[in-house]
Amino acid sequence: MSIWGSSADAGVKIAGEALQGVETATTVRVKDGERVLTDGPFAETREVIGGFYLLDVPDLDAALDWAARCPGAKYGSIEVRPIMVFDTP
C-alpha cells in the first residue's frame, strides 16, 4: 500500500472524490431569478472554489436543478461535474 493509500487507515482522510475532466462541466448561475447555464467550467480563472456539495442524482438535469436552488448560485457560479467511478480490480 502506498503512503497516500494508508491515509484512510491512519484515520486522517475523511472524504474525497476524483472529478471528471472540465469537458464534462456545466456552470449554473441564477440572475434575476433566472437560471443561466454555461456549457463549460467557470469562465473566469480568478474565481476560486468556495466549497463543494456531493449529490447523488440520476442525471445532469437533476444536478442542475439542485445547483440552481443553492444560495451560492445567486452570488457566484456553481460548476456541476460528475465524479470519477473507478473499476474495482
Binding site: T24, T26, L37, D39, G40, L60, D61, D87
Partner: protein, 408 residues
C-alpha cells in the same frame, strides 16, 4: 430510403439503451443486415420493428461482451422489463416516434450551441459528418471532433434523454428552433450532390416545426419559424427548372407557387408579429410574406424588405442578414449601393453566395472582368450541381468570356 427510418430507429434505441454511441453502432448494424436480407427475403411488413429488433439483439450481444458495460446491462434489463410497454410500441405494433426526445438531448444547453446543431443534424437528419461540416462552413475534421466531444459530454455528464417539462422548455427553444431552421436551409439549397432541393430535409424541418407548434401553440417564435418555412417552401416547385436547374426569384413562374402554403404561412405570420417585439423568425417570415405577396420582382415592396432587414439586423445581428439586406438595398438604391455593403462582409469569404451576389452586382455595373473573377471564386466554393451549373452559365454569358471576333 433509410434516412427516415434511421433517425426514428436511432431515437428509439437511444431511449432504450441510454447510450448514443452504442445506439448508432447497432442502428448501423441493423441497416447493414436489412440491406443484406431485404433484397432476397423481401421487405418485412413492419420495417421499423424489424430494424429495432435486430438492433436490440446486437446491442445485447455487445453489452454482454463488453465488461465495462456490465453494470449498465443489468440496469438496462430492469428498465426494459418495467418499461411502459404501451410506449415501446404503438397500437399497430409499429415503433413510436421518439425523435422529439432525442431532439432535446441534442439541443441540451449544457452543450455548446454549435455542438447542438451539429449533433442534431447528424442524429436526427441523418447527415454525414462532411454534410454537417458544409452546413456550418467549417472543415470536416473540425466537425468530426465537435460531434465526438458532444457525444462524450452527453455520456459522461449524464445529459438525460427526455423532453423537458413545461417550466424548462422555453429556455431550450432557441437552440431547437435554430436547428430546425438549419435543417430546412440545407434541404432548400443542398450543400452537395446532384439535387438543389432535398425534399426530405425540407419536409423533415417543417414536420419538426409543426410538432413543436403543437406542443407549444402559444409560442410566437415557433409560429414565426413555421410560417417562414411554409412561405419559403411554397416556392419550391418554381425554384428549379425542368432539368433541375436553379431558377432565381426574379425568373420564377409565380403561378407555380403553392397558394395553400402561402395562405397558411400568411395567417401564421400575423400571429407571430402580433404582440410585443417580434423575434428573428417572425421577422424573416414577414420578409418571405412580402415576396410571396408580390406579383413580380419589380412590384415587390423592396423598401419594406430593407426596413424589415434593418429590424432583423438589430434583433439578431449576423453577416448573412447583412448579405440579404445588401441585395434588397441594391434593388432600392442600385447595384453600387449593394456592392459597397457586400465589401464589408469579410467574414463570409468562404460562402459561395457572397461571391455570386458580388458577381451579379458587378455584372449589372458593367464590370465583366471583376464579375468573372467573383463567379470563379463562387464556383470554387459551391457544393451542389444545379448551383454550379447556374454559376457556370452566368460566367459564360459575360461579354469577356465570349470568343473575340479576331480570335482564331
Amino acid at each position: 430510403m433509410f434516412r427516415e427510418e434511421w433517425s426514428r430507429l436511432l431515437a428509439t434505441l437511444v431511449r432504450q439503451l441510454g447510450d448514443l454511441d452504442l445506439a448508432e453502432e447497432v442502428a448501423a448494424d441493423a441497416v447493414t443486415a436489412a440491406l443484406e436480407h431485404w433484397p432476397t427475403d423481401g421487405v418485412p411488413t413492419r420495417p421499423a420493428a424489424w430494424l429495432l429488433t435486430v438492433a436490440r439483439r446486437r446491442a445485447l450481444d455487445r453489452l454482454r461482451r463488453d465488461r465495462a458495460y456490465a453494470a449498465r446491462l443489468a440496469l438496462l434489463q430492469v428498465e426494459v422489463d418495467r418499461a411502459e410497454p404501451a410506449q415501446l410500441a404503438t397500437d399497430d405494433g409499429d415503433v413510436p416516434d421518439e425523435r422529439l426526445r432525442l431532439f432535446f438531448t441534442c439541443c441540451h444547453p449544457a452543450l455548446p450551441l454549435e455542438a447542438q446543431t451539429a449533433l442534431t443534424l447528424h442524429c436526427l437528419a441523418g447527415f454525414s459528418t462532411p454534410e454537417v461540416a458544409r452546413a456550418f462552413l467549417v472543415p470536416p475534421a473540425t466537425m468530426a471532433q465537435r460531434i465526438v466531444r458532444a457525444k462524450r459530454k452527453i455520456r459522461d455528464a449524464r445529459i438525460p434523454y427526455r423532453v423537458p417539462d413545461a417550466a424548462t422548455l422555453p429556455g431550450w427553444l432557441p437552440g431547437v428552433l435554430r436547428v430546425i431552421y438549419l435543417i430546412f436551409t440545407e434541404g432548400y439549397a443542398a450543400s452537395s450532390g446532384a439535387d438543389l432541393i432535398r425534399d426530405d430535409l425540407a419536409d423533415e424541418a417543417i414536420r419538426l416545426a409543426r410538432i413543436l407548434h403543437r406542443l407549444l401553440p402559444g409560442d410566437r417564435e415557433i409560429i414565426g419559424l413555421l410560417a417562414l418555412l411554409l412561405l419559403v417552401d411554397a416556392r419550391r416547385a418554381a425554384r428549379t427548372g425542368p432539368s433541375g436547374e436553379l431558377v432565381l426569384l426574379a425568373d420564377q413562374d409565380r403561378s407555380l407557387w403553392n397558394p395553400d402554403l402561402i395562405g397558411e404561412g400568411r395567417r401564421l405570420v400575423v400571429a407571430a408579429l402580433t404582440g410585443s417585439a417580434p423575434g428573428p423568425y417572425a421577422l424573416q417570415a414577414a420578409i418571405a410574406a412580402v415576396h410571396d405577396e408580390a406579383a413580380t420582382v419589380a412590384t415587390t415592396d423592396w423598401p419594406q424588405v430593407v426596413a424589415l432587414y434593418d429590424v432583423l439586423g438589430s434583433v439578431a445581428p449576423s453577416p448573412l442578414v447583412e448579405l440579404n439586406r445588401a441585395v434588397a438595398v441594391a434593388m432600392v438604391d442600385g447595384p453600387a449601393a449593394g456592392l459597397a455593403l457586400l465589401d464589408t462582409l469579410d467574414s463570409l469569404g468562404a460562402y459561395h453566395l457572397l461571391h455570386a451576389t458580388r458577381a451579379d452586382l458587378l455584372r449589372q455595373l458593367g464590370r465583366p472582368a471583376d464579375a468573372a473573377a467573383a463567379y470563379r471564386r463562387a464556383l470554387e466554393l459551391v457544393g451542389n450541381e444545379p448551383e454550379r451549373a447556374f454559376l457556370t452559365r452566368r460566367l459564360a454569358s459575360l461579354p469577356q468570356n465570349r470568343a473575340m471576333p479576331g480570335d482564331a
